[in-house]
């Protein structure tokens, strides 16, 4: 019986493994096929290689810019701005949500404004910010924060309100006041929510920073894309986009790792 049981379990595990490897293989193969097709199409002049570029010229561009170090500078700038936006959007968002939670009257006054600001396309603000703050890093940071912060505030505040009233009652029965409720229940119980908001915000910060760099920068990957488009350096644009994909993936994975660590702790 146990022999049979064991082998069934093994079959199940083998099936599971096969599925995993198949998925991974199809992912890699389809990407490689696409790249080969692109390269061939471009060399055989099926598509206009000037407009559509090719994987090899993107790779050459990468090697060229990596060897003169300029690329790393642009990556660093974008990464740095994104991290600052991310940190500030999470920190200020949490602080503001706490303020709303502390005063229900304040929350009710602010609610419609926050909803409107959250729905407003933040790219509409960027030109305004340039006029107000100048075409510099400040504008980029503020535009990055503006993309993420309103959603952060609203989601966190909703999360704070959804905390079980009985848990709050427990703190009150133990003689705790509002600050104790905040410290012992609200903040720790909404940690998972905060982490999932961080996952969203890291992406949104990147969006905001690139919007900002489009309009107000002379460095960073967003600048490379805009400059590439103005001067028809298609390899610059495509390489920057590929790098943005990689950055987005790495940042997301970092937060996912943080989430895993928190769950295991």
């Amino acid at each position: 019986m146990t022999e049979q049981h064991k082998s069934r379990q093994e079959l199940f595990l083998a099936e599971h493994r096969r599925m995993k490897y198949t998925v991974a293989a199809i992912r890699v193969i389809s990407l490689v096929c696409l790249l080969i097709l692109w390269e061939v199409a471009s060399r055989a002049e099926w598509i206009d290689s000037f407009i559509f570029c090719s994987p090899s010229s993107i790779a050459r561009c990468f090697v060229r810019m990596a060897s003169d170090q300029s690329l790393f500078y642009h990556i660093w700038i974008t990464l740095y701005e994104t991290m600052v936006c991310f940190a500030l959007s999470v920190l200020l968002g949490e602080l503001f949500a706490i303020l709303l939670w502390l005063s229900r009257r304040f929350a009710r006054v602010m609610e419609p404004y926050l909803v409107v600001l959250n729905s407003l396309p933040k790219s509409a603000l960027a030109p305004l910010l340039i006029v107000w703050l100048g075409a510099n890093v400040k504008t980029i940071i503020v535009s990055g924060i503006s993309v993420a912060i309103f959603g952060t505030i609203l989601n966190l505040y909703t999360g704070f309100q959804e905390v079980d009233n009985e848990q709050i009652k427990l703190i009150r029965t133990l003689g705790g006041g509002k600050l104790q409720i905040l410290k012992k229940v609200i903040l720790p119980s909404t940690m998972p929510l905060l982490i999932s908001i961080m996952k969203v915000n890291i992406g949104l910060s990147l969006v905001g920073v690139i919007i900002g760099e489009f309009l107000a920068a002379n460095e960073g990957l967003g600048y490379l894309i805009i400059y590439g488009s103005e001067t028809f350096k298609m390899d610059w644009m495509l390489m920057s986009i590929v790098l943005l994909c990689l950055i987005a993936m790495v940042l997301y994975k970092a937060i996912a790792a943080l989430e895993k660590w928190y769950a295991k702790r």
């Binding site: 009652k169 427990l170 029965t173 133990l174 104790q180 012992k184 229940v185 720790p188 119980s189």
Partner: protein, 258 residues
């Protein structure tokens, strides 16, 4: 003997935009040091409200509540321990830290108080579970941990708000027995609120029967069992059935009258 708690002609209503709901109407009773008072009444009749009033979470609209002959509101809540329906142990704390929650809030994390909590944990079989998360414990152990969290502040009076209602029947009997024994052993005065008659009879030495909303005191009786019986053993005594029948009749009677 002077009463530890005196509930004097208290009335209370809840207010919402849809109107006013009278919950308590002129309720009076007393609790003496060492009493285990059980309050029974139909679900939703306002039993929990009585406990919230005693704990000072709500203020009576009419009447007064005296704790040690002082107005209860002025007394603060530390001398009164409150055990809620669910254990509400926090998953982000281990069992020991959960039990210390009250001490943290009261800023009483002295060696003496912490030692007391550790002694309780050890005494009531949670020693080896101290560093575990609540989800790793059974319902019964969790409820014991919740009681220790309440006892940590060394309250004079314990309020139990249907603390077993979230458990399945068998665990409920065991935990009820456990908690009853612990309270007796720690010589605490307690008020238990429940809609479960057998629970009230097996744990309490006095029982107050409440009517439906707006609730009034319909009956008050002493429950006497041979000395030294555990709550579970009491359930097997012939006199248990007699108490059950008479209170049951009392409650039915009022249902009919309403």
């Amino acid at each position: 003997m002077e009463a530890l708690l005196r509930f004097q002609d208290v009335s209370f209503s809840y207010h919402t935009l849809d109107g006013e709901t009278d919950v308590l109407s002129h309720i009076s009773f007393e609790v003496k040091e060492g009493d285990f008072l059980a309050i029974v009444g139909p679900s939703g009749c306002g039993k929990s409200t009585i406990l919230s009033l005693i704990a000072g979470l709500l203020k009576p609209e009419e009447g007064s509540i005296f704790f040690h002959e002082q107005l209860a509101a002025a007394h603060g809540t530390t001398a009164i321990g409150y055990m809620l329906q669910k254990d509400h142990l926090f998953e982000w704390r281990n069992i020991r830290k959960n039990a210390m929650l009250g001490l943290e809030i009261q800023r009483k994390k002295t060696k003496e108080h912490m030692d007391y909590v550790d002694t309780l944990l050890e005494k009531y079989g949670l020693e080896e579970f101290k560093t575990m998360r609540p989800s790793q414990l059974s319902g019964g152990m969790r409820q014991r941990a919740a009681l220790i969290r309440t006892l940590a502040l060394q309250p004079r009076l314990l309020l139990l708000d249907e603390p077993f209602s979230a458990l399945d029947y068998q665990t409920r009997l065991e935990v009820g027995n456990d908690i009853g024994m612990i309270i007796r052993e720690e010589e605490k005065t307690a008020i238990l609120v429940t809609h479960d008659l057998s629970e009230a009879i097996s744990l309490g030495n006095r029982i107050i029967v409440l009517s439906d909303r707006p609730c009034t005191v319909k009956d008050e009786l002493q429950v006497v069992f041979p000395d030294g019986l555990s709550p579970l053993e009491k359930r097997n005594e012939p006199v248990f059935q007699e108490y059950f029948q008479s209170i049951w009749k009392e409650m039915r009677h009022h249902d009919g009258a309403a």
